[in-house]
Symmetry: C2
Subunit: 568 residues, 2 copies
């Protein structure tokens, strides 16, 4: 699986799509960064296909395989296409089995380059993020140590960092539960100021969202300058600009702003760039990668994180709002198995045997689970765009079930339903899906945003939770205070990023299928001032996973020839 | 300073030295990794020149400038030469002004590539190191949580990690004093087991020393497997092999084992590889880089960390002992200013004005400081090799002083003394030095190791501190116990790595010039089982620097054109 005889030099792939060598920065023979000087804002010609899914289940829906497979399908039918995906994190690679390269005949190669360091972007984000953390703690220490002498000795103003309002944790690109809650500066003295701190996994850094939303290096520099690291003792934000560290952070991320070009198992070009989560951030690959793709190909297939209530919603209300990049079609990925799992009748756990009913033909069970699909179709149509259903086929799927699903989806307003056989057959297995999507993309459609900038943050919250089917949103007292403070501080115009579970359309993972008559409790609001959105927390969001009892790293090694084994 | 019109494509530089494109993995146009399949153990043809210095002072001796300049000087006189240097850490780059690229007309270009991410090696080490830390804490947590059920549920043996004997800290490549002493797993529960921990800067990781000493990927895999992460409750080592994480760590470092080829401002090839400290590790660039250099060029110039009591001593007793790579000549770098500073008559602090006497011609003062040079000449000759003195020239140097220094050095047994004008004149300014060194290299010499493998660790300690001029070494009770345990555990055959201050020949930074009648107290012993040496601590060694009040990051930014400014 690690490499393939069909792999072509990346320069050849790029050349075929009009990316000449002057715009290509090679990293070995199979990867290259693309120089941003290639981008011509007027040159966009392609159609963007946004791949989302039904509510995800432990069975997996195959969204990445379908994304990669569909991009191959377009090329199979003679329509030049580039896929844009997010960079995988090392956490899952070494934690649970499975990278993020797709699979079968629809994967990004060489898989080990994608799943490990790629061209260093995540490491650069880790370094930039932790530089700001070190700078903040150092300033805290020196001001604490020198007191009134600080300004005299340094010529710098006192920042008066409020030790109880330090908002910038540290990051590491591993699943490391012991770092969730830590004390730093233990013992005090020359070893800093003792305080409570913690680590997130790097993908959760605001810098990751910034990388994904930046238009160019200058824009990224300004966004990094706006990042709020802490509050001072007067409650005023201490930004990276105010700490004078934003320039150095940008310098560390200067190469990371260039997307990485790789290829699929069928030599379709893939741009890999940024990897923000779809709960505490907007869950989509970068604006820059999309722009390059739309300029160099007729179609770009990109994948949004989790179900349509998560990454797809955030694509529209955050990424489209900021960039104006407009999809022409939404593809919702489903499997018959995961639709049945969405019925809510089973308690399915990863790694445990599946209930027999799920693998057997059972139209009644499917019909129940299809309600979830119906909700996601309606949710996508809310934004004014046509919706296509891609059924990621399993050998056990029955004709009767597939026919039911087709009729149901059409009755919900889907433009069409097509089987994707990407895993087994690559682009040949998605040719019909690509034909369907390309026809659908021809319809001229405008995107309807869910809310304008200028309504209150509370109205934005109510608008969003109403789409989930909630009766209302309830704010804790803390959340209400924070909302008022954010509007007072001038952040009221920003779009919302609801940080909730992906495992239910609601904010409660126990509410399966299409929940009704529930409320959504918002416990807190936080601003991502550089990325440009307000995070509304509806439940606890894990931003530092842990390693399980049988972690994947145990099986990863080099063999006698020095080749990597055990990565998948 | 950032780039130069004279920069040539790295492929062209490589080609000129017989490294054809099949062995080259490009990272853009100015850097490439070299594939290890190039190495032919029989093909070594070059002479190795080891650059060391007198006892370092806050004034700086210009060892890197001289190393780079001398490599240019060899090429200037028509003798093909490659320089091998260590990779800089981000800590100093953002902390104090000054990267590690050399300077003036003797520097590695592009300087910002060298000083920032290079080709990702340090990031890979950070990731591999912290994966082991996460794995260890996760295992501690799961065994603690499940108790007797652990083996039943997982099929794995209990490791019974002793929480009071966890030897593997975490690492980050920044100066971050707040991370020196931390508590992890705070609060316990699902967030791990609460315990005291800390961070070192990445260069201090044993993995850095392993990278520098490994012969190939297989050797690195075995060394990583031997790394001791903790003791179990019976006092038995828990290695990375036993935790089943050594394979995954190696996979993360699979690209890092390839040295990075860059060029100097005069297009001399430079191999950059690994960056172990010269106190807690052996302080030299990699065995692999040396082998490639000695195979492809007639001369290799490499730099050992700190003075000859540190990196040079460790080159012989550790790196040469393990690899058999033999220098043909030692070059000791000195400046008149730093010799005067070594007299011990001044209290010089970085960033403060120099005493006037140091810049003025003063043969008497120089004569006192020259005793330090005399000791370092004798120290180098101990290993049976010829010694050349390189005087890194300053405009204020007087002819009278230079003549005194020459006579003194020759009287101490130096083979010759030559001025290096590398900063101002590049290779032209070191041509005479290169001529001298090349003549000296023609003498056939054998290296005499300071001690054989099979004497006791205590005898090794005494032998080493005797070279410093100490009356004796004194061991604390703890150190005595550890010594006995290490010998019992089968580590008695390993060479020693004395971790001491570089600012004195003794272990006390206050003892200047050539101290006498002192004792060296060893407070503890630790084994670097993968790197293959025993660390003997003579004083507290800082392995996590801090940021000062006016850190360098404040001046680093991008300009209007997107170019990096403020790096140096």
């Amino acid at each position: 699986m690690a490499s393939s005889p069909s792999l072509k030099p990346i320069q050849e792939i790029a050349q075929r799509y009009g990316i000449t060598s002057e715009y290509l920065i090679p990293y070995g023979s199979s990867m290259a960064k693309v120089d941003l000087s290639l981008i011509d804002p007027q040159a966009s010609k392609g159609k963007l296909v946004l791949v989302s899914s039904i509510t995800p289940t432990p069975l997996g829906e195959g969204k990445t395989v379908t994304t990669i497979g569909l991009s191959q399908g377009f090329n199979f039918i003679g329509k030049p296409c580039i896929a844009c995906i997010r960079q995988p994190s090392l956490g899952p690679v070494f934690g649970v089995k499975g990278g993020a390269a797709g699979g079968g005949k629809a994967q990004v190669l060489p898989m080990e380059k994608l799943n490990l360091h790629l061209t260093g972007d995540i490491h650069a984000i880790t370094a930039a993020h932790n530089l700001a953390a070190a700078a903040l703690d150092a300033r805290l220490y020196h001001e604490h140590r020198l007191g009134d002498q600080f300004t005299e000795q340094t010529g710098l103003p006192m920042l008066n960092i409020d030790i109880n309002h330090i908002l910038w944790k540290r990051v590491v690109d591993h699943n490391d539960r012991a770092l969730r809650h830590i004390m730093v500066g233990v013992g005090g003295g020359v070893n800093g100021v003792e305080r409570a701190d913690g680590y997130d996994i790097t993908a959760a850094s605001e810098l990751m969202a910034i990388l994904a939303l930046s238009e160019d290096l200058k824009d990224m520099r300004q966004r990094i300058g706006r990042v709020i690291l802490a509050l001072d003792t007067h409650g005023k934000p201490i930004t990276a600009e105010r700490l004078e560290v934003a320039g150095a952070m940008t310098v560390l991320m200067k190469d990371a702003i260039q997307p990485t070009l790789m290829q699929t198992s069928e030599n379709t070009p893939v741009l890999i760039h940024a990897g923000p989560f779809a709960n505490i951030a907007h869950g989509n690959s970068s604006v820059i990668a999309d722009r390059i793709g739309l300029q160099q190909a007729d179609y770009v297939v990109t994948e949004a994180g989790f179900g349509s209530d998560m990454g797809m919603e955030k694509f529209f209300n955050i990424k489209y709002r900021q960039s104006g990049i407009k999809p022409s079609c939404v593809v919702l990925v489903a499997t018959l198995r995961s639709l049945k799992a969405n019925s809510g009748k089973f308690n399915i756990k990863p790694g445990q045997p599946l209930p027999a009913e799920i693998a057997e033909s059972n139209v009644e069970l499917l019909a129940q689970g299809c309600q979830n699909l119906g909700w996601h179709i309606a949710n996508a149509k809310r934004y004014g765009l046509p919706v296509v259903i891609a059924i990621n086929r399993f050998p056990t799927d029955s004709g009767e079930e597939l026919e039911y699903l087709r009729e149901y989806a059409l009755s919900c307003g889907a433009e069409g339903v097509e089987i994707s056989d990407a895993f087994a057959a690559g682009g040949a297995g998605t040719a019909k899906l690509a034909e369907l999507v390309s026809r659908v993309c021809e319809k001229q459609q405008e995107v309807t945003l869910l809310y304008p900038d200028n309504i209150s943050l509370l109205e934005k919250v109510q608008t969003l939770v109403n789409t989930y089917g909630a009766k209302q949103a309830v704010l804790t007292a803390q959340a209400s205070d924070q909302l008022a403070q954010l509007e007072k501080a001038g952040f009221g115009h920003l779009p919302l990023c609801i940080a909730k579970t992906p495992l239910s359309i609601s904010a409660d993972p126990a509410l399966k299928n299409v929940p009704k008559d529930f409320t959504v409790t918002i416990s807190s609001f936080r601003v991502s001032a550089g990325a440009g959105f307000i995070r509304a927390y509806a439940g606890n969001i894990m931003t530092m996973p842990g390693l399980g009892t049988l972690p994947a790293y145990r099986n990863i090694d080099i063999d006698q020839s020095g080749d990597i084994i055990g990565l998948s």
